[in-house]
Symmetry: C2
């Protein structure tokens, strides 16, 4: 390789550690626990996991794999295809891996993203044998500069026995200085300080991640490009959801509970959330601060539109178009974006202190406001809870958005009883669909049910839901149900292909 590596590896102690991915992959033994950087496909090592997967095709071994969040085709997919993953923690989104998880071939722990570092720190999980971390550079001081995500990398570097760096020399040099690395000390009396975030844009940590150079066993040189996420274009329905969200926020401003700069905003991952953000471009709100987990296209669009003045998160998740122009665009966003560890971006202390407004996408909502974010049909994992619980539980206003129906109307996203509960109605303030919004704050369960049915359900399902609620109320209770029919919409779908019961 003719590149002058000393530009990227600026500390001499690291220069002689360069290895190939194939060699580094031979260091992994059966049963080892690996922590990899990577979050919503950004900042993940790409050569190493592929090499490890190649080795897995010839040799029988399994690893337990921890990451920040979801990984792409080179990582999660190639390793899942090679059948080398025993346990996957804490989030994933790859179709091949998902299939094996749902077939019981890969164990998967779907954990709140802010809790992973704490679990590692407290020794709840086995300690990591290797951390494999993508980097944009290694500084003069031997600090590791991440690329497009921080995720759990600081705790992985801190606790792993050995470290492998995958140095990506094609990463934009502007990444350096965009991270704000802050580590918590142990929990306990007089052991942990308050997290000093009082203003989202004020830095509290360092640009790079500390690592004991003696632990770094190898540096793999990569020039793999960042991986885009498919994001569908906003359509009439997502625009209507955005409009409904904007009306709700507008009413809050009118009532004097919010100002036109709102409150620090968190938006979930995915096409609907992204489209909703996009729909805020002409909202009239201004000087918005984003305090989120993942920064998608929508956030960049809002910065461009002058609506968002600063954004903090732990990772990027961008469309093909944004990925392709990232190298040339990053300079202009450099003083408007900061990346923090996911333990900090998603920390209840910070979320509650800042009074964040949170909106995330629901897979399924029930008439009482309980939310299923993860399990299709109540049993099959889609991706994972991610950070939605971190934000939903502690936000000033917790909003869940969803289209009211799916599969050409055969599925109602609003059902009598969600077949899996990720967020209980205690944590859900507002439900928004393209039909309207239901503000559940200050409502008892039966009042909430009426509001959700009337404001948010698709007209095709309203009467069916009213009938269920009426029958349930006959039996009484704070949260009336007809238990033997609570999942009848789901079973009708399984048997007859639709939730419409004829």
């Amino acid at each position: 390789m003719s590149t002058d590596l000393s530009k990227f590896i600026r500390n001499k102690a690291f220069l002689d550690k360069v290895v190939t991915a194939e060699e580094a992959a031979t260091w992994i033994e059966d049963g080892m626990t690996l922590g990899m950087s990577g979050f919503t496909l950004f900042g993940e090592p790409k050569l190493f996991p592929k090499a490890l997967a190649e080795r897995g095709k010839k040799e029988k071994f399994k690893i337990d794999l921890f990451t920040g969040a979801s990984m792409g085709p080179a990582a999660d997919q190639s390793m899942a295809e090679a059948d080398i993953i025993n346990l996957r923690v804490p989030y994933q989104g790859n179709p091949v891996q998902r299939k094996k998880i749902n077939a019981g071939e890969i164990f998967y722990i779907d954990q709140h993203l802010s809790h992973v570092a704490e679990s590692i720190r407290q020794g709840t999980y086995p300690s990591l044998d290797y951390a494999i971390i993508e980097a944009a550079a290694i500084t003069e001081d031997g600090d590791i500069i991440p690329t497009g995500s921080v995720g759990n990398s600081p705790i992985f570097l801190d606790t792993a026995k050995h470290v492998i760096i995958e140095l990506n020399i094609s990463a934009p040099p502007e990444y350096e200085g965009m991270h704000d690395i802050y580590m918590q000390s142990a929990a306990g009396e007089n052991t942990r300080e308050a997290i000093p975030i009082f203003e989202v844009s004020k830095r509290i940590g360092t640009p790079g991640m500390k690592v004991d150079s003696a632990k770094v066993r190898g540096i793999i040189i990569s020039s793999e490009p960042d991986i885009p996420s498919p994001l569908f274009e906003p359509n009439a329905e997502t625009q209507q959801i955005a409009d409904n969200l904007l009306s709700f926020l507008g009413e809050e401003v009118k009532a004097g509970r919010l100002t036109e700069s709102l409150a620090p905003l968190q938006s979930g991952v995915g096409s609907v959330a992204n489209a909703v953000l996009n729909g805020m471009k002409t909202s009239g709100f201004k000087d918005i601060v984003v305090a989120s987990e993942v920064l998608q296209d929508g956030v960049f669009d809002l910065i461009d539109a002058g609506v968002v003045k600063f954004a903090a998160g732990t990772a990027l998740s961008l469309s093909k178009k944004r990925v392709e122009s990232l190298g040339k665009d990053l300079a202009k966003y450099k003083d408007k974006i900061v990346f923090r560890p996911q333990e900090i971006s998603n920390h209840p202390e910070v979320i509650r202190r800042l009074g964040i407004i949170s909106f995330n996408t629901a897979l399924e909502v029930d008439i009482y406001g309980n939310v299923n974010s993860t399990h299709v049909g109540g049993t099959h994992m889609m991706n994972g809870i991610g950070g939605s619980g971190d934000f939903a539980r502690n936000a000033r206003i917790t909003i869940f958005v969803t289209q009211s129906t799916a599969k050409d109307g055969k599925i109602s996203a609003i059902v009598p009883f969600v077949a899996h509960v990720d967020h209980t109605n205690h944590d859900v303030d507002v439900i928004i669909t393209e039909q309207g919004y239901a503000d559940l704050r200050g409502l008892a369960p039966t009042q909430a049910a009426e509001r959700i049915i009337e404001n948010c359900m698709h007209p095709d399902y309203k009467q069916q839901a009213r009938d269920y609620l009426a029958a349930a109320k006959e039996r009484g209770g704070q949260t009336p149900h007809v238990l033997e029919k609570a999942f009848s919409w789901h079973t009708n779908l399984a048997e007859k292909g639709t939730m419409l019961i004829k």
Copy 2:
């Protein structure tokens, strides 16, 4: 009244405000919102609510009632009997009121106890017309000294248009100095400081609660005694649950994850939790700090036994014996106990910083570790979620305890699918019954299910659960279920009086 009131009302501006409860009760108008002190029957006004209830027997009016938590016979019960409550927030436990809630005659919002003050501060609820607060004294500076609970009283005093003090001249004078009143400012960027609790016993606030004297419309003089809670004596089963909890904690110490002083401990409200605490007397653990919500007999017993060195909470909940001796006992506990507002005792920032170990009682648990804390049969409210979610969601280790069966074995407390979810399996680390404990940390759902069934279920139900899980696994998924049979144990109970399916 011949008592020298100037001993209790030490600020002259308040001395001429003395009124009868009956007169104060006439100030309340139909549709008003009232905030009353009171938490687990301690520190609640007793004369005022009774007088208001009496008025309600002759006149038609309704109020919305906010408290700290549950109130006793003079308050919740008399007002529920008089049918003057429209809406009740955020917790209750009175049988008469419960019946009306489940009949749909009283609206009830069952809210996380740490969130109520925040909701009021943000204007989510209508502002309070009156705060009615029990006090042990009014200081020279006009501060209100609470009695046996703090709860939400500081935010009620701060935001209510008018204030009525129910001064209890029979309250032990030792209460003064035992409270630590700290108020949060508004959430937002650069508006709220970090909560400065780093050591449970270090005070961060003031002994009394601030109130604008101009808002105080009346002072009712009371000498009503504190109200005891029924607490059943520990029995063989609760002792076995305690022993299982102690084995679990012992293993954590052996593994080096805890020391013999453990970590700050929160224990739930109720007989089982109390009995479990009691069972820790001869545990060998020492210098334990309690950082809880409610301090029950068990905490006092552990202080007496020299096992607990300090305890913080927001309220007392004591048996008849302890209530009767409180006046003479309180002096000896004065430097070992502190009461804080429930927003602070239950605050995620504090819980997570201190790394609290939390144990609470479950009504029902499912094979995947989801917990129902509130709804009998999934529909009928028992008491409420209380602070269990505040602690469960943020604790270092979250434990739920329950006897494995109820009603002479006709009900299994462990079921395929809980009929109401208050805590999702993301937030539940350990399940303990008299049969044993299941440590779910680091387990995927199907692994967790096997461990819960084998370690915690009553033998009479094990095979029935194994059969359900096996049938569910045939259908696949991350969290396998046979949805049409998920509530079959519940419907069998409703139809045939037992969850045992023959």
